[in-house]
């Protein structure tokens, strides 16, 4: 287990390197720099500024210095918000984004697993067909379409919930969290249904039933655990989807998270901010995938990673 986890961690390093390298050089090819303004600066001042931020060193040295900065999680100053560092902007948005993302993730898995089990227990019944068709619709409606529709229905039409903003209250979290989790509920439900059906057909379930175990026990104690494994392996992609989705959801609901910084940064051409967020999200996704893999190996005794 230990050697597997170390090996798996080792394979994350090249991915991170590619991410940082490509991001760094992309920013460097980009037209415009941090000190461009409408009025051209005198060359001496320009040179002084560049010297201060060490932009006059050879590119290779700058690259390795940037690598070092990233290792200490320092993303540099924002190009657009002159008084802010990218770290401050991320630190400001992160709690909001994480709260929203965590709620959406829990919502997606609880609802998806429940629906999936119900559909699997009544395979090929009306309930099954109905829920799976709805799931297909859910997968096909992107969350940036679902979100305004939800606002139209619940905020403008019925007036039940606020249409946007963020103050940490549950009421304002409901719509964005639901919009963020909707496509995922559908995915989880589909995966869960498939794996539950498979689990129910396996021989150890037949044994449990033959022993005269009540159906409820059979499902909860024996079938659920193996059926959950594929769902758990979906956790990694789901987390990535939540991060991506939060970009549009935060914009639609005017939530001050990292995602909205990211879009604003992209539109302002705030290169360091955009790059910082990309690397930060990349780190998060890689880390989450790693944790999910470990969790999976720990849960499934059939998988032996020590080769």
């Amino acid at each position: 287990m230990l050697s597997y986890s170390l090996k798996r961690l080792g394979s994350a390093v090249p991915t991170l390197l590619i991410l940082i390298t490509v991001a760094f050089f992309l920013i460097r090819i980009a037209p415009g720099g941090p000190f461009d303004s409408e009025k051209a600066l005198p060359p001496e001042i320009q040179a002084n500024l560049e010297a201060k931020y060490q932009l006059d060193d050879p590119l290779v040295i700058q690259y390795f210095r940037y690598l070092g900065d990233i290792l200490t999680l320092d993303f540099g100053p924002s190009f657009h918000y002159r008084d802010w560092t990218v770290n401050q902007l991320i630190a400001q948005g992160a709690p909001v984004s994480f709260t929203l993302g965590a709620i959406a993730l829990v919502l997606a898995f609880v609802m998806g697993v429940t629906i999936g089990i119900l559909a699997a227990l009544r395979q090929n019944s009306l309930v099954d067909y109905l829920t799976m068709s709805v799931a297909m619709v859910g997968i096909s409606i992107p969350n940036f379409v679902a979100a305004p529709l939800l606002i139209l229905l619940f905020a403008i039409g019925l007036g039940w919930l606020p249409a946007g903003g963020w103050d940490g209250s549950i009421g304002r979290m409901v719509l964005p969290a639901v919009a963020l989790s909707l496509p995922m509920v559908a995915y989880v439900a589909r995966i869960m249904r498939g794996s539950m059906i498979e689990a129910l057909h396996s021989s150890f379930i037949r044994t449990a039933r033959a022993k005269g175990m009540p159906e409820r026990e059979v499902i909860l104690r024996h079938a659920l655990k193996p059926a959950l494994l594929p769902v758990i392996s979906y956790l990694g992609p789901a987390a990535a989807a939540i991060l991506t989705g939060s970009v549009v959801i935060e914009r639609i609901f005017t939530i001050p998270g990292i995602g909205s910084h990211f879009v604003q940064g992209a539109l302002n051409r705030d290169y360091t901010l955009v790059m910082g967020v990309v690397i930060f999200y990349g780190l998060l996704i890689i880390l989450l995938n790693y944790l999910v893999d470990l969790l999976y190996a720990w849960l499934d005794p059939r998988i032996r990673y020590d080769r």
Partner: protein, 303 residues
């Protein structure tokens, strides 16, 4: 039994007839299975209808997607004004814009998928065919890239290189080829050592014949399935970018850009959200169903 029975002669002649047996090919088989899948057929029909509407709709409609109707700003759908889906805040005919946007969205979907197809198939085929250490390294590179946050990368590309439609094709296609490379590589690897390939070689087929008659047709099914599942993904990515204002730029438009415009006029003009959203969702829905159907029909692994 000296007199020859004509029936027996016929039988003998039939038995001696060396015409090749016409077995049911993979594709005939797949077609039969697809025809029985009603959901997939309905999906294909919806897609054809949308394609037809998007192609000829603008010709039948009298309005231009750039020129405003000065008498109708943000008016609801009505037959009286001639705006079937109403107008947007600038007085432009929404039907026309949804059709033009649909052309762009579908075009991006198809072209970016072709780009990813080209890269993915050649990469995967080379890796699978060469095998060994080269294959190992090539696939490790794919694994490393696979873990990247792909959507953020596309956004980064759009920010750095400006927003034009060709970049969208290339950016989405260039990042989306990984799955294709993996699938094709796996398929090539397993085909290479299959008995029927060996049999063809033994019975004197040239290398060219082996590739053209046996390897390519067997890859084609998997590739077709994957293409039908990639197109909606790509359309989704493009809509996502356009929604953020990073994709297609005015006066051109796409379904994602229209949804974005509609979302901003939600309270005053809900129709400007509903129609593009409906078209986008219907297209994605149909592609997903068709892809599922094709997979059931074509994937040789499930036989």
């Amino acid at each position: 039994m000296t007199a020859k029975d004509p029936g027996t002669v016929d039988l003998f002649e039939q038995a001696l007839d060396r015409r090749p047996v016409h077995g049911r090919s993979l594709y005939v088989d797949a077609w039969h299975r697809l025809k029985r899948n009603r959901a997939a057929l309905v999906a294909a029909f919806i897609l054809l209808a949308i394609l037809l509407l998007v192609t000829i709709g603008p010709m039948l409609n009298g309005w231009d997607h750039e020129i405003p109707d000065w008498d109708n700003f943000s008016t609801p759908p009505s037959l009286e004004t001639g705006h079937l889906m109403g107008t947007d805040a600038l007085g432009r005919d929404l039907f026309e814009r949804v059709m033009i946007g649909g052309r762009i969205s579908l075009l991006v979907g198809v072209i970016a998928t072709l780009v990813s197809l080209l890269i993915g198939v050649s990469y995967g085929a080379v890796a699978g065919y060469l095998g060994g250490r080269i294959d190992n390294w090539m696939m490790r590179a794919v694994d490393a890239i696979y873990a990247l946050p792909f959507m953020f990368f596309v956004i980064l590309l759009m920010v750095v290189f400006g927003r034009n439609i060709f970049l969208i094709f290339v950016a989405i296609g260039a990042v989306n080829w990984l799955d294709m490379a993996r699938i094709v590589r796996g398929q090539t690897l397993s085909l290479k050592n299959k008995d029927f390939i060996e049999a063809a070689r033994v019975s004197g087929a040239t290398e060219r014949q082996v590739i053209v008659r046996h390897i390519v047709p067997n890859l084609l099914g998997v590739v077709a399935v994957y293409v039908s599942l990639t197109i909606p993904q790509v359309i989704l990515v493009e809509s996502f970018l356009s929604f953020l204002g990073l994709g297609v730029q005015e006066p051109l438009t796409s379904w994602g850009a229209l949804v974005n415009e509609g979302a901003q006029e939600l309270e005053t003009a809900p129709w400007s959200l509903l129609f593009p959203a409906l078209f986008l969702a219907a297209t994605l829905f149909a592609f997903n169903f068709l892809g599922d159907g094709l997979r059931d029909a074509l994937d040789p692994r499930d036989r």
